[in-house]
Symmetry: D2
């Protein structure tokens, strides 16, 4: 097939990286031109992931090779490591999509405070965009650098944006209780993710101290048009994939559940990847597994005057690789669903 | 062994029932005299639970037989069905411990509203006590009927009681985000708990509409000395056992995290079954599995002025059978830990 | 899109049925024209499987409607129920692919013995073919009825065919120890598949008495050119998808492991869906999940003179819906991989 | 409590070690006097396992301290490391129970071949005994060193001993297909046991090459009175605890299933920890979880003339810590069930 663009993946043997490769291999307009991995340079990706055998046995090269071979470069790297790559991409006229944290925060001080280092190329950050297509579609189209959002922030932003934009909830003191599958912790084995200690287990972590907090507040603030604050508590869920966020916000005086529901249904009626479920149907991480969908359900607690929003995504797809490809589709003018219209398996 | 009391279990083939039988069989002072089951009358409990083979092959009889044979009767029945049994027990001078919902709510209207029927013997409810030993120990000792608390309410009450009693948090608008293992749904197979649809899944249910809500508010109100209100959202966690409740409450002006921690450590320093974990150690459902412990960890979010309490219990032990035995120990003057000092396995 | 054929699915709300629908919706040449369900007639498939919402909200009709609307009909029904449908399809010139057991066994006595009833239309069975494309490709192409193989028999046939055809192992007394994920038990909740009793559990069932035994022996006998006999023991594995079969057969005098490996590599070198793994790499059900692949690994135990073959498939794809579509592709002259070249996710 | 003996655990922070500590803490006659750990020397065991908090906060010392403080020393160490400890124990008149592999094999060549090193103190091996109480009870009682059996070999020995001793099956070419929970792989995180790659996964490992093979054959040979040979294939099961072994052996001419069943029932009728299940009830790892039981079920396949035995144990209890304590009870003349008569939870 004569595909239109060449794509490269830096950090292809991490979990987000291999998911990107898997999805890109079936993209109708993108050709995986090169991949890289620091840990497995010189090895086939199929040696690391036997699921790839006879499907993609490409050898992991260097990031330089990836940049040279591609029209658009995806990087799935720990924070701090994407900026040089971004710089090289921009210099050589390539698009860059960062699945790490380096291009997510507008405020340099936020990055310094939460990630402990400064921006290397501040000018790049002016040229970059935070890539949630459903919220910032038009701004993404012309950009060269996309900061692909964190998994938790994606689930939260899609869940709260309509109500905040319409001023139906109070943007301060929103409680966000999120639960993520274990792939969110990455490929590296730890005591915490060792099967006998993770299976049949459940715990909160980085309570009110997770790095996704400023990213969440940044988007909610944009949506609200005023300073939003949240208490964010993530939990480790003993499943492979999926994030469910349960969000609690004060309803503004007089706002009813029916209005809110109508608002969400209207807002997302033309969004392919966001499904506002009918009353009575719960969102469940299993219903979006291996897909780019975000399912949302809404409740009001009249007793306490709260809006409760539950949203689910697959943390590795809409929360990482799938959304990155959605952003690529926007950058190159492809159909936004190209390569990511997978139907979630029923089980 | 010449044991001091005869105990009976009504509803012995449900999950709470069989857990009761399992624990009681190793109690130093209680002799399991009779068990009953509506679904399996005439069958051996070991036919229903092969784990019991050669250990307890007792035949399930009728509830009348159980009452006749016992000094204390435990009932693990759906709501509405315990009241006749309670009446018979009281008449014949036996103690009664109800693991169902019939003796948990003080306010008759609450019971009517949430369970759809009225109290059959209102006078019994005056004679009964809500059985969380750590909070109501002295009141329990002389009673004849104990309403054994619900699983969620136990995890919440122990988690919030100290702060509420000392007025350190605001009792209104507390957000309670709870996650329960699947045994909480009982023994009966449903679509929702069918392995392929429950495994690798996660969802909220009965959002702001769960029957444990009035029970939670009742206890928190008692602790606070003023009307407490909560938004309670339970979730179904794909593990067998365990509840983790994450609770969010507004700190009163000027209260610090250190004060709160000290308060909790002091409050629970002599409580065998409540462990306030040191800073930096997360509670995890796996660390209390198959035990009667409740682990608690505390956080403050200065950013938003919230106290965040996380608590874990085994829903079938401290959340059901274990706490019921703890109540029995109180009723009969045994050591409170007798028969329930199991050490949680590390995995 | 102007697709070439109309397809219908009878029994679309069972697990194999919904998996068929999911895969067919993305097939490049097939248009899902109609679906039916006895249990949910008149309901949308997305009401039964919320994962399908906004993707396929088709209403389940009757089997007659499905037959009328389609060029090829798939049936995923309990045994005994497909024969009338097959008859109607043949009469009206439609192709029929049966995912049940009614067209798998050549010997009428075998069907009677193992399924307890006789063939209703014996002549249909002469016109049907057992559909493992890798073994019977040329015979399938011209047929009108395909008996789509059982999940266990598929894993076994692909694992043993090369060695049996070349006479490298003894066809009598082969031991087959298989382990299947829980979706193999179907959609209907049972005590056995209730999460708390299936999770953290593992057991054998229908030991040396499973209905797939005659189907396995039938294929192995064909491959060997002489009567093959097996001892077949299936186990229930607490995962959603996947079958691993461990097969033990006596090596013929003088046959070496190297010869066997070469034979398998040669035999399957052009088979897209069968991957003979390199020495040292274990097959794992996770590496074929949600894909149509069958992975095979070989071992010889010199100590006892046995060949040990391990094979894995996804029981719902290569073991059911995927292989059915592979057969459809053959019947209609499409590329054999059309619609089923999914890449297994790495996790 | 004035307990009769002092016990020590070397390697207390490994999985078998911490399970030993957990069980010994509730033993009626043993007092845990000291524990050691190379990895965590100087740390509290409760820092490594928060489940132990407020229950056992003992500090891990050195192995010398453990030996000095104890009447009997348990060692849960990698192979090769127990022999010095054994020597020191014997010299100072202490009993020694080795949960590792150093005292399991009678034949020095077997140890050399499978473990790659020689016996350091050959004379110690003459004084030691292989500790399966149900098979070698009387020989164990007077010994000073017990080689506690491997987990797989325990499940196999109990499953095949009666038939082999009575000559009802052929001892050559027995196929043993075993499946073990992940705790069997120990505490150290690996890629293989990383939750996202172990959950929803299943694979065979060390096929026909596992170190438990000579141990299995040694016991089966003793039982048969002639050379027994096996093909042994272990699999990694995505559950925390439990081993199920499915064993296939040729029935001797004329032996019937009824005879075999009677034999097993008779053999084990007085064995507290072995349960021969009635016809029609499958063994399941969940039914022995957290207990010292071994459940056995028997089948005959007339078609191929095989006896099929299925047996289950908890790999950490009867397969490690529980059996070690059973051996200790024998050494000290305690009741054999003391401290290990836990009832398996139903879920």
């Amino acid at each position: 097939m004569n595909k239109q663009i060449k794509v490269g993946v830096i950090g292809a043997t991490g979990y987000a990286g291999v998911e990107l490769v898997r999805l890109l291999l079936r993209h109708p307009h993108a050709d995986v031109a090169a991949i890289s991995s620091v840990s497995f340079e010189g090895k086939q990706i199929s040696d690391v992931y036997p699921s790839m055998r006879e499907i993609c046995e490409r050898i992991c090269g260097s990031s330089e090779e990836v940049i040279a071979a591609s029209n658009v470069v995806f990087a799935a790297l720990p924070h701090g490591l994407s900026q040089d790559t971004a710089e090289q991409c921009i210099k050589s006229g390539k698009k860059f999509i960062d699945l790490g944290a380096d291009f997510r925060l507008d405020a340099r001080e936020d990055y310094k405070k939460w990630y402990g280092s400064d921006y290397k190329y501040p000018e790049l950050h002016d040229a970059s965009i935070y890539g949630i297509p459903e919220l910032f579609r038009n701004d993404i189209k012309g950009k060269s650098i996309v900061g692909n959002p964190g998994c938790y922030p994606t689930s939260v932003a899609l869940g709260l944006a309509p109500a905040l934009r319409q001023g139906m909830i109070q943007p301060q003191g929103i409680v966000i209780d999120s639960k993520s599958g274990v792939t969110g912790a990455g490929r590296k084995p730890t005591q915490n993710t060792h099967f006998p200690e993770c299976n049949e287990a459940f715990s909160a972590y980085k309570v009110a101290a997770h790095r996704h907090t400023p990213e969440i507040e940044q988007t909610l603030t944009k949506m609200a048009g005023e300073r939003a604050t949240v208490t964010f508590v993530p939990h480790l869920l003993p499943v492979n994939r999926g994030i469910l966020s349960t969000m609690y916000a004060k309803l503004k005086e007089g706002v009813t559940g029916e209005e809110i529901r109508r608002l969400y249904e209207d807002t997302y009626s033309n969004e392919y990847f966001v499904r506002v479920l009918p009353k009575g149907v719960s969102v469940d991480v299993r219903n979006v597994r291996c897909s780019n969908y975000c399912d949302i359900q809404l409740y009001t607690d009249k007793h306490t005057g709260l809006l409760i929003v539950t949203s689910v995504i697959d943390n590795m797809v809409k929360g990482a690789a799938g959304q990155a490809i959605q952003n690529m589709n926007l950058l190159f003018g492809f159909c936004e669903t190209d390569g990511i219209d997978m139907i979630p398996p029923a089980f």
